[in-house]
Every structure is written in structure tokens, then in C-alpha cells.
């Protein structure tokens, strides 16, 4: 179980296949699109990093809505 939000997920068993499952599930759950440059295990290997990316993606999505 995760103790801290900056624990390395790849050390806990997140391989490339699991990574794909996580990204797709999060994108569907939050109705967001993660930027392609950040779709690397190294960019998303802690809960903290992932949370930040989700927040930015949500904010970006809202900005686009406002502009339209």
C-alpha cells in the first residue's frame, strides 16, 4: 500500500502495460486528455505527479470550454 504520494510506482509493480491501463482509466474517469509528452512512466511514476497532471488537464479543458 502507498505510504506517501511521492513513492515510485514502478518500484511497486507498475509496468508498461499497467501504465496504459492507468492512463486510459484516468482519462475516462475525469473526461480529460493527458498531453502526449507526459505519457512516460518517468513522468507519471508517483501519485503526486499524476495528480498534478490530472489537475492541469482539467483546468486546460475548462479554459478551452470558456474560450468556445
Amino acid at each position: 500500500m502507498l505510504e506517501q504520494t511521492n513513492e515510485d510506482l514502478s518500484q511497486l509493480g507498475m509496468d508498461s502495460i499497467t501504465f496504459i491501463h492507468i492512463v486510459v482509466a484516468l482519462e475516462e474517469a475525469f473526461n480529460i486528455e493527458m498531453p502526449d509528452e507526459l505519457l512516460l512512466v518517468t513522468e507519471m511514476n508517483t501519485v503526486e505527479k499524476i495528480t498534478n497532471i490530472i489537475s492541469s488537464a482539467i483546468i486546460n479543458a475548462e479554459l478551452i470550454d470558456v474560450q468556445e
Binding site: S16, I17, I20, H21, V24, A25, D36, L39
Partner: protein, 519 residues
């Protein structure tokens, strides 16, 4: 064998996640284990282990990834098609022999596709045979050894606009959409059902407005709609479809509210009938109710109700069968939408027409046997009058297909063990295993290979006898033969829910045996 959680290895140069595992769970159950194996690394020790562990291996290689510059090399005429085709063939012969050495698993091999190509928008749809040539060659190499799947056909079903996922393709090399992967997993599951022989066996057909348009007893034969054009065409097409099912092992029966003489006249004399009397194993044509007639068909043919499918155009008849015989699968005739429902049949593509015709002949000559029975008071005298001949020998490889089918189809006269062809081949090679085949003929027809017994050391590991051969005390003769040649102290037995009777026979013949029950 078929009850264990399936382990499925997927060897590929592309990614199918996150969809493949989720779809596999939906079709194979939550316990299924999927091993994704990268094509470039399948010789690694870890992946070799997974391959040997797997019950099924799916091989799906993406052409665009393997040969991204193939088409331009072809257009620039630096490489000709023949060279590339040979290169590809060589590659696959190697992959196949690698797999064949490692494992006995059921292999499902997807063909190549060229629908990913974007050139038709500029070139039009002029036929380009390259991928098809490669697929044809592959199909010749792999024929009979693997299930070679027409990937283009699956994409056509899903639709080219729905089959691809460009986002997935460029993110992590997963070019196919969720919809496409579901269709592919569904196909893998279908091939699993076919390999295991999990299928309905008997199709019971109504006549009026199913085999022909109109009601025979009301409209008269001249007004029936059946032919190659007009209103009758749909019925003739349906008859052709049913005949194809017959040629793939489905047993056909007729259940119709009509006068039998009228119906037989149509079968014998109507020039547009595709189905003939010789294709039908049993006619129940009378004015009685359909559930009773279907039960009678099941008893006559010795087929379980849960292996039967009933087609009728009348919702009332369908409902009455559903209510009285809930195990029977019902299909309401609908010209356009009913074909989907025939997926309850899972039929092998390589059937022996000779075996099928022999089986049907046995069913049809059963009436003569019934007539003979009435002439004798004692059952023994009747058996003698039947002049039953049994040929017993150690099973030859050419019989393995028929034997596997027998173990998969039989529910009653079986010890419950079922084998695929690969499993029989593997076991027959073992020194301690002897496999006997029993072929029967009587005065009225040759029944062909109807029984099989396998002995491993002192254990009876397999007993299967086709229901067609019942009523001749063959099961006793089979067991006596084996008891005379082997010292049996153990019997493997697995309940099918319907094989308690044969268990009693086995216990009777080998009263001091250990029954090894598999739950």
C-alpha cells in the same frame, strides 16, 4: 480440461491493452490469465515458460509494424512482391516451428490486413493482391495446424472507420480500437468453443413459412413459395444455409403440423427443395403439439434436449416450447435477423462427409430396427437377429479426429473425459497408453467408428460410446474385450450429469476397482 481457467498467451508486435484483458475476462470468465508476449522477445526464457503454460496462443502480427516500407519498396520497384512474400513465408515457418516445439496449445493465428492503408483516397480501389497473396501462402503453410483467422473479415464487420484508434497507435503502438479488439476476442472465444466441441447438435425445423412460404395444408402445393427468385428465394436460401450446417455435422429433424404424406411428397417431388429426405434424421409430422414432438425427436435420436435448437415462424409455438422444454434453444424465424442466433452452433470446418452420411444413415435405418424388435419377444434374440459385428483395433492416427469428436459429443455413454485432437495425439505417443477404437455394423447399416477406450497402465482413462450404437449391448462387449487384455484396478470418471447409467455398467464389469472421480 475445459473447466480450468484459460491461460491465453498473445504474441504480437503491437499492443492490445487496455482492452484485450477486459474483453477476455468478459468472454472467458474472470479467472482467465492473459500473457502479453512481445514478438521480438518470445524466445526469452520467461516468455517461453508462459507459452508452455498457456492453453491457447494468439498470434497477431501487425504488417505495418513489421514491414513499414514494404509498399514504397514495391512502388519504387527495388523489391518485387515475390521476394517479400518469400521473406514473410520463411519468417512464419520459423515462428510456427518454434511454437510447435514448445507447446501443444491451441493456436489462433490472425492473417494480415491492408485496410490500414490510406492510398485508396488517391488511387481508388484498384485491386492490390499483395497482402492477399501473402495470406493465401500463409494459409497453405498453416492449414490444419492452426486456426488461421481472416482478420480483414473481422475489420469489415466492425467497419474500417470504427476499427482503428490513431491516438492509441501513436501513444503506445495500440492501433486497434476497443470495438475491434472486442470483435477479435469474441472470435478467439468462438474458436475455443469450436476446438472444445461445445456446440448444439440438432436443428429441429418447422416447415410452413420456414422451409417454404405459405401453409401447405391450406394453400396447396402449387401455391407454395419456394424457388430461386421472387418470394420463394429467401426460403431456398435458408434451406441452403441449413444444408451447409448438415455438411458440418448438425443433425436435422422436421417438426411440423401437417399430414406426413404431404410433407414427404414435397421432400421427394418439389423441384426447388434444397433439403432432401436423406438429410433429415427424423420426421415428426402430425397434428400433435410441438413440445411432445420435440421430446420424441430427442428420444428417438438419443440426443439431450439441451443440445437441440428449434426454429419456427410462429411466436406461439416458440413460447410453448420455451415454456414446456426450457432446455431447448428456440429461434423465431426472421428472414434477415435470425442468422445471428445460429451462433449457438460452434462447428469445425474440417468435417468428413462420409462420417456424416454414415451417422444419418444409422438414424434413418433405426425405423427398420424398431420394426425388427417387434418381431422378437426376447431382447437377446433381437440382438442376435441384428447381426451386430464389432471391429476392434488399436486406434490409427487417421481416426484421431473422429475419436476426439466422439469424446466431445457424448454425454451419456462416457466416463466424462474429453479430448482435443492434439491431446489424443500426445497421449497416444506415450508408452503406457493404449487407445482402442470400436467400429460397429449391423444388418441395416454400417455405423462406423462409434466407441473408444483408452487404458493407461492399470487405469481405464477413457470410455466413450456414441448414443447411436446403444441398444446392442456393445458397451458390455467393449469392456469385456479390454478386461481380457488388461488388468484394470482404477477407473477415471467425471460426471456429465447424464452418465450415471454407464457408471453403473463400469462398476458392474470392474467391481473391485477404485473410482477416481474428478470434480
Amino acid at each position: 480440461m475445459s473447466d480450468l481457467p484459460q491461460k491465453i498467451a498473445v504474441v504480437s508486435n503491437i499492443i492490445f491493452e487496455p482492452h484485450f484483458v477486459l474483453m477476455a475476462k468478459r468472454y472467458f470468465g474472470n479467472d482467465v490469465i492473459v500473457y502479453p508476449i512481445p514478438y521480438c522477445e518470445y524466445t526469452d526464457v520467461e516468455y517461453q515458460y508462459q507459452l508452455t503454460e498457456s492453453d491457447m496462443i494468439v498470434l497477431w502480427l501487425d504488417f505495418e509494424c513489421l514491414f513499414p516500407n514494404f509498399y514504397n519498396a514495391f512502388f519504387s520497384q527495388t523489391k518485387n512482391a515475390k521476394m517479400v512474400i518469400e521473406e514473410v513465408n520463411g519468417l512464419f515457418k520459423r515462428v510456427y516451428s518454434d511454437l510447435a516445439i514448445t507447446t501443444n496449445a491451441h493456436i489462433v493465428w490472425f492473417s494480415f490486413e491492408d485496410y490500414f492503408i490510406k492510398l485508396p483516397t488517391v488511387l481508388g480501389y484498384n485491386y492490390n493482391a499483395l497482402i492477399d497473396k501473402i495470406n493465401v501462402d500463409l494459409s497453405d503453410i498453416l492449414k490444419d495446424k492452426v486456426n488461421f483467422i481472416d482478420l480483414k473479415r473481422i475489420i469489415a464487420e466492425v467497419g474500417i472507420t470504427n476499427a482503428y484508434d490513431p491516438k492509441g497507435k501513436y501513444r503506445w503502438n495500440a492501433p486497434y480500437s476497443k470495438e475491434m479488439i472486442e470483435a477479435a476476442v469474441k472470435e478467439v472465444h468462438k474458436q475455443y468453443l469450436i476446438e472444445k466441441g461445445l456446440t448444439k447438435k440438432c436443428l429441429v425445423l418447422d416447415c410452413d413459412n420456414v422451409l417454404w412460404g405459405g401453409i401447405l395444408s391450406e394453400d396447396g402445393v402449387e401455391n407454395l413459395k419456394l424457388g430461386s427468385s421472387g418470394f420463394g428465394r429467401a426460403y431456398q436460401d435458408f434451406q441452403r444455409f441449413v444444408l451447409s450446417l448438415y455438411y458440418h455435422g448438425v443433425i436435422l429433424a422436421i417438426c411440423s403440423k401437417n399430414d406426413i404424406s404431404d410433407v414427404m411428397m414435397i421432400f421427394h417431388e418439389h423441384g426447388e427443395m434444397i433439403l432432401k429426405e436423406e438429410h433429415i434424421a427424423c420426421f415428426q409430422v402430425n397434428w400433435g403439439n410441438k413440445p411432445d414432438n420435440i421430446k420424441r425427436i430427442a428420444e428417438t435420436l438419443n440426443i439431450g434436449l439441451d443440445s437441440m435448437v428449434f426454429v419456427d415462424d410462429s411466436p406461439i409455438e416458440i413460447e410453448s416450447v420455451k415454456a414446456m422444454l426450457p432446455e431447448v434453444t428456440t429461434i423465431l424465424y426472421d428472414r434477415d435477423t435470425m442468422y445471428e442466433q445460429f451462433s449457438c452452433f460452434n462447428l469445425k470446418s474440417n468435417t468428413s462427409v462420409a462420417d456424416i452420411e454414415k451417422r444419418n444413415e444409422t438414424y434413418r435405418t433405426n425405423q427398420s430396427r424398431e420394426a425388427l424388435k417387434t418381431q422378437y419377444d426376447s431382447y437377446t434374440d433381437y440382438i442376435n437377429a441384428l447381426e451386430v459385428k464389432i471391429d476392434i483395433h488399436e486406434a490409427a492416427p487417421i481416426e484421431f479426429g473422429r475419436i476426439s469428436e466422439l469424446t466431445q459429443r457424448t454425454n451419456k455413454c462416457t466416463n466424462g473425459i474429453r479430448y482435443t485432437v492434439a491431446e489424443i495425439k500426445e497421449r497416444a505417443d506415450l508408452e503406457d497408453v493404449t487407445l482402442y477404437s470400436f467400429s460397429v455394423s449391423d444388418r441395416f447399416s454400417d455405423l462406423g467408428l462409434v466407441g473408444v477406450i483408452e487404458i493407461e497402465n492399470d487405469t481405464l482413462t477413457l470410455f466413450s460410446l456414441s448414443c447411436r450404437a446403444l441398444g446392442r449391448e456393445i458397451e458390455i462387449k467393449m469392456l469385456d474385450f479390454v478386461a481380457g487384455k488388461h488388468e484394470i484396478t482404477k477407473i477415471d470418471f467425471k460426471s456429465t450429469g447424464k452418465n450415471e447409467d454407464i457408471k453403473a455398467v463400469l462398476l458392474n464389469t470392474f467391481p473391485f476397482c477404485d473410482f477416481h472421480r474428478e470434480e
